[in-house]
C-alpha cells in the first residue's frame, strides 16, 4: 500500500489537514488509512478533490479511464455534500485515500446531516425526452455507476463514504 501525501494539493488548507488527520485517525479503514486533506464545504474545493484523486490515480497506476471514473464519482459526491449536505453552512469535508494491491480508494467524511447517497439514486428514465425530463438524481447515478464499489456508513454521527476502483494489475 502507498500513502498519498496531499501536501501539494493546497497550501492554504494546512491547518485543516492537521485537524483532518486527527479526526479521521479514530476511524481507520479495515485496510490501512492514508493521509488526507480537510477542505471547506464550498464548490471551490472541488478543484482540490480533483487534484487529490488525479494524484492518487497516478500513484495507483490506474488507466486514464479508471482515474476519470474515480474523479467523476468523487466530484459528484463532494458536490452533493456541499450543495445538499451543508447548504451554505460552514463545515469541513475530510478526504483521504490509498492504493492497495487490488484497489484504489477515496474516502469522504462530513458532518452534514446523515444521508446515504445510495438512497438518492434514480436511474434516468431513458424513455422520457429531455425536454420533459426533470433533472434530479443524475449526480448520484453517475457516481454510483462510475466506481466499482461505493460504500456508505454513518459513524458516530458522521457521513463516511468510500469509493473504490479495482486495479486490474496487482501491485
Amino acid at each position: 500500500m502507498m500513502a498519498i501525501d496531499s501536501g501539494a494539493a493546497s497550501a492554504e488548507h494546512t491547518a485543516g489537514q492537521e485537524r483532518c488527520k486527527a479526526r479521521c485517525a479514530g476511524q481507520p479503514l479495515a485496510a490501512k488509512a492514508a493521509s488526507g486533506l480537510r477542505i471547506p464545504a464550498d464548490l471551490d474545493s472541488l478543484d482540490l478533490v480533483a487534484r487529490f484523486v488525479l494524484e492518487l490515480g497516478r500513484q495507483g497506476r490506474l488507466s486514464d479511464s479508471q482515474t476519470y471514473r474515480l474523479r467523476l464519482a468523487a466530484d459528484e459526491l463532494a458536490t452533493n455534500i456541499v450543495m445538499h449536505g451543508y447548504r451554505g453552512a460552514s463545515g469541513g469535508i475530510c478526504v483521504d485515500g490509498g492504493v492497495e494491491a487490488d484497489r484504489v480508494w477515496v474516502r469522504f467524511h462530513d458532518d452534514a446531516p446523515a444521508f446515504d447517497p445510495r438512497t438518492g439514486m434514480k436511474a434516468p428514465d431513458l424513455e422520457v425526452p429531455l425536454g420533459e425530463r426533470s433533472v434530479g438524481g443524475l449526480g448520484v447515478f453517475l457516481a454510483l455507476t462510475a466506481v466499482d464499489s461505493f460504500d456508505y456508513e454513518l459513524v458516530a454521527g458522521r457521513n463516511v463514504s468510500i469509493l473504490a476502483i479495482h486495479r486490474s494489475e496487482h501491485g
Binding site: L46, E76, T79, G139, F141, L142
Partner: protein, 103 residues
C-alpha cells in the same frame, strides 16, 4: 476548476466552445452561455466539446436546460466529445435528444 466558454452566432447557428472542466463549480458559466444562445433565436446550437476534459452532472443539467429553452425545432449537437465525456452523455440517455457528432 479551469473552464472557459465562448459563444458565437452566425447564420442562425449558435456555437458554444467549451474548454476545460464542467462541474458544479463551473456549470453556472456554461448555463449562462446557453441562456444567451437561447435568446438569440438560433435554429441550431452546436457545442464544441473537443477541448472539454471533464463533464459532471452539473454540466448535463445545462444540456437539459438548453433542450428545454431552445424549442423542439432547434437541433442541438455536441461535437467532438472525448470518450469519457460522450460516455457520460450516453449513460444519462441524452443522446436521444442531443446529437453526438464525431464522438
Amino acid at each position: 476548476m479551469s473552464f472557459d466558454g465562448t459563444l458565437s452566432v452566425s447564420e442562425g447557428i449558435a456555437t458554444i466552445e467549451v474548454k476545460g472542466e464542467l462541474d458544479a463549480s463551473t456549470a453556472p458559466r456554461f448555463h449562462d452561455l446557453v441562456d444567451q444562445a437561447a435568446e438569440q433565436g438560433a435554429v441550431r446550437l452546436e457545442i464544441d466539446a473537443r477541448h472539454l476534459g471533464f463533464l459532471a452532472s452539473a454540466g448535463l443539467r445545462s444540456l437539459v436546460f438548453a433542450r428545454q429553452k431552445m424549442g423542439d425545432e432547434v437541433r442541438i449537437a455536441v461535437i467532438g466529445a472525448t470518450e469519457p465525456v460522450s460516455r457520460t452523455i450516453r449513460l444519462a440517455g441524452f443522446d436521444h435528444s442531443i446529437e453526438l457528432i464525431d464522438a
